[in-house]
């Protein structure tokens, strides 16, 4: 199979996954639709993180900075200047890409790597959160409400009656993000990213402009992440510094791709399919516990506690992510040359 055919095959797979998903809002009840929205939303964000953290190997622990920039940009443009969130989304993406490129350039230029890079991104996100909490223009730590409108409006990206429309929006974003990753996976750019991840010195010795491509990876990942932030603001209709720039946002964004499989095309989706329902289930479990565990009812913290424990177990027992574990299993089951299918 040549290069072009592989790319087409990947796109065909994406279409095969996405097209049946179009039917979901017509088939299931509203609760499941909202669960599907959340799952796709986290898969989309995880995919954006994966470009930088997985493919280019620059582990970001502060993706909330891009997310928050996106959320606040579209919201403020809408509130102050009546700009459609669609345009705000693009503006936020541009702004986040610029910010990411600037911050990335500084950190990379000064040789900040590995643990230190992760901590640096973390500190940047926290700084933005603290600054946002002090900025009058965006209503400090109180946060900003997006006023409700009656009925549905695609221009305002707000749907009062048809919640399912949010589903189509996030599905579209998800397909867009996945298409970018697939294109990247099969392109020179993606090859440079992966070469940098595997061995920076070797990549540089082979003529890859390491600094430039690392900055590209950050900018691309930042732009996509910011669009997710804009979507969230329109879906939730409220944004404050913690929801936008908080640590938990950064953590949630990177959890799915890591549990699913870092640096794989489908890892973020697989991770989201596991973790998002898991989080909702633990929440539901605490809301209505079985009679033997009645004392857990309504206790705040129990759901996150269970979630934390499950997270530890998942990472301990599936260290290379679900996609990796699946491949190993597949390799063991299917007899073939070298005991399995070549990971493509």
């Amino acid at each position: 199979m040549n290069h072009r055919q592989r790319l087409l095959q990947d796109y065909a797979r994406l279409a095969a996954v996405a097209l049946p998903l179009l039917a979901v809002p017509f088939l299931v009840d509203p609760f499941l639709v909202s669960l599907a929205i959340l799952t796709l939303y986290w898969a989309y964000l995880g995919n954006a993180w994966n470009i930088m953290g997985g493919y280019a190997g620059q582990f970001s622990f502060g993706h909330a900075m891009f997310y928050g920039i996106g959320a606040y940009t579209s919201t403020m443009l809408l509130l102050r200047f009546q700009v459609s969130p669609w345009l705000g989304m693009l503006a936020g993406a541009g702004l986040a890409a610029l910010f990411g490129a600037g911050a990335g350039y500084l950190l990379f230029r000064f040789g900040v790597r590995g643990h230190f890079f992760a901590l640096g991104t973390f500190a940047l996100a926290e700084m933005l959160r603290l600054i946002a909490a002090e900025t009058e223009f965006i209503n400090r730590s109180i946060g900003v409400h997006i006023p409700l409108i009656r009925g549905d409006s695609w221009w305002r990206l707000q749907f009062e009656r048809t919640q399912g429309n949010y589903y189509f929006v996030i599905l579209g974003l998800f397909v867009l993000g996945m298409a970018v990753t697939i294109g990247l996976h099969r392109s020179h750019l993606g090859a440079y990213f992966q070469a940098i991840r595997e061995n920076e010195e070797a990549a540089a010795a082979l003529g890859v402009d390491v600094l430039r491509y690392k900055v590209y990876a950050v900018a691309l990942s930042a732009a996509l992440t910011a669009m997710g932030g804009s979507f969230f603001a329109q879906y939730f209709l409220f944004i404050d510094p913690t929801l936008a720039f908080g640590v938990s946002v950064s953590v949630q964004i990177l959890l799915r791709p890591i549990v699913g499989g870092v640096g794989t095309v489908w890892g973020p989706l697989v991770g989201a399919l596991l973790l998002t329902p898991l989080a909702e289930l633990t929440r539901a479990f605490v809301r209505t516990p079985p009679p033997s565990l009645e004392f857990l009812r309504g206790r705040s913290g129990v759901d996150v506690m269970i979630y934390g424990a499950l997270l530890i177990l998942v990472i301990l027992f599936i260290p290379d992510g679900l996609v990796g574990a699946g491949r190993r299993l597949w390799g063991r089951l299917s007899p073939g040359p070298r005991g399995g299918r070549r990971p493509s």
């Binding site: 953290g53 040789g111 901590l119 940047l124 301990l316």
Partner: protein, 332 residues
């Protein structure tokens, strides 16, 4: 290196220009008007900085020897604080007597955590270990929330305002010197934190265990080759690191109320200190602790209304850019 220096001097020149723009007389007037506040901030900053140093020392040990970012460090501090609270509340144990007890308890707890969670993932990619400690932090924080609710708990030393005699000298508390007020709990925390830091440095420098720990930090394979049981060293080091937060927890409880989230700020601060002081460097942790304590208190004076952490993060980013090996660390 040249670029770093250039950037540093450029930044300083910029600051000087801003200073000239504002006008020297106005700056002088500002300092005169705020001199008491400044002094108080410096003293408070240094005192709390000593405790930060102790917390960061635990983190830098774990960081340097096991090479993991331990995101549960702050949560373990919270555990220690609740433990101290319970000891005081139920059994009337003085928090300063609780220092060794809580330290020992957290040593065991840390060892358990290392064996059960960190050790099995020793060959996994580094981000897995980070996520494991993160999951642990989530678990601990919310378990404490379930057990104690979000209500802050505090203790008050009955002898907080008693005069204390040291030989012929009688010291009244709160102590007033140089126009500042020093409370007993903060002073005691500072002194004990320094003593513990000193004791731990001695242990690392002069005992066989300390040598083995330092050898493992320097070169894992090399240490193994000369017969160091590195798995045991990892266990002990993680335990020692958490024992540090245990001791620190008992020391801060007399002046800081505890809620399930209280460790977060310490966690973040400790990371900044470790990077600032130099990863794996014990004196660096202490120096960094004092500097960050100062930064945090002074940033409130210079930028009123802002949160303490903003200045801390600024220092952190500058440290990452201009001196990534840390003030007292080896060149990376």
């Amino acid at each position: 290196m040249d670029r770093r220096l250039l950037g540093l001097f450029g930044g300083l020149a910029l600051l000087a220009l801003v200073g000239l723009g504002v006008g020297p007389t106005r700056i002088e007037a500002w300092f005169a008007a705020n001199s008491v506040v400044l002094r108080q901030a410096m003293v408070t900053g240094l005192l709390i900085g000593g405790v930060y140093g102790l917390v960061a020392m635990g983190l830098t040990l774990i960081f340097g020897v096991l090479d993991i970012i331990n995101f549960a460090h702050g949560a373990l501090l919270t555990v220690g604080m609740y433990l101290t609270f319970l000891l005081y509340d139920r059994f009337g144990v003085d928090p300063y007597l609780a220092v060794p007890l809580v330290g020992a308890a957290l040593f065991l707890f840390g060892g358990l955590v290392q064996r059960l969670i960190i050790h099995p993932a020793r060959n996994a990619p580094p981000h897995n270990q980070l996520l494991l400690t993160l999951g642990l932090a989530l678990f601990i924080e919310n378990a404490l929330l379930v057990a104690f609710t979000a209500t802050p708990r505090a203790i008050r030393l009955p002898y907080e305002r008693d005069p204390i005699g040291i030989g012929p000298l009688v010291v009244d508390f709160p102590l007033r010197i140089w126009g500042t007020t020093i409370t007993l709990p903060k002073l005691a925390a500072f002194v004990f934190a320094l003593l513990l830091t000193g004791a731990l440095s001695l242990l690392l420098q002069h005992t066989d265990l300390g040598k083995a720990i330092r050898a493992t930090a320097q070169d894992r394979v090399g240490a193994r080759l000369v017969g160091v049981d590195i798995h045991r060293i990892h266990l002990v080091t993680f335990g020692l690191g958490t024992a540090c937060v245990g001791a620190a927890a008992a020391l801060v409880l007399p002046f800081l109320s505890v809620d399930p989230q209280v460790g977060n700020t310490f966690n973040i601060t400790a990371f900044v200190i470790v990077v600032l002081g130099g990863m794996g460097s014990i004196p660096g942790a202490l120096l960094g602790g004092l500097l960050i304590g100062l930064t945090q208190e002074l940033s409130v004076v210079f930028a009123p209304g802002s949160t303490k952490l903003l200045g801390v993060f600024l220092v952190f980013i500058l440290a990452l850019l201009f001196r990534p090996q840390g003030l007292l660390g080896r060149r990376l």
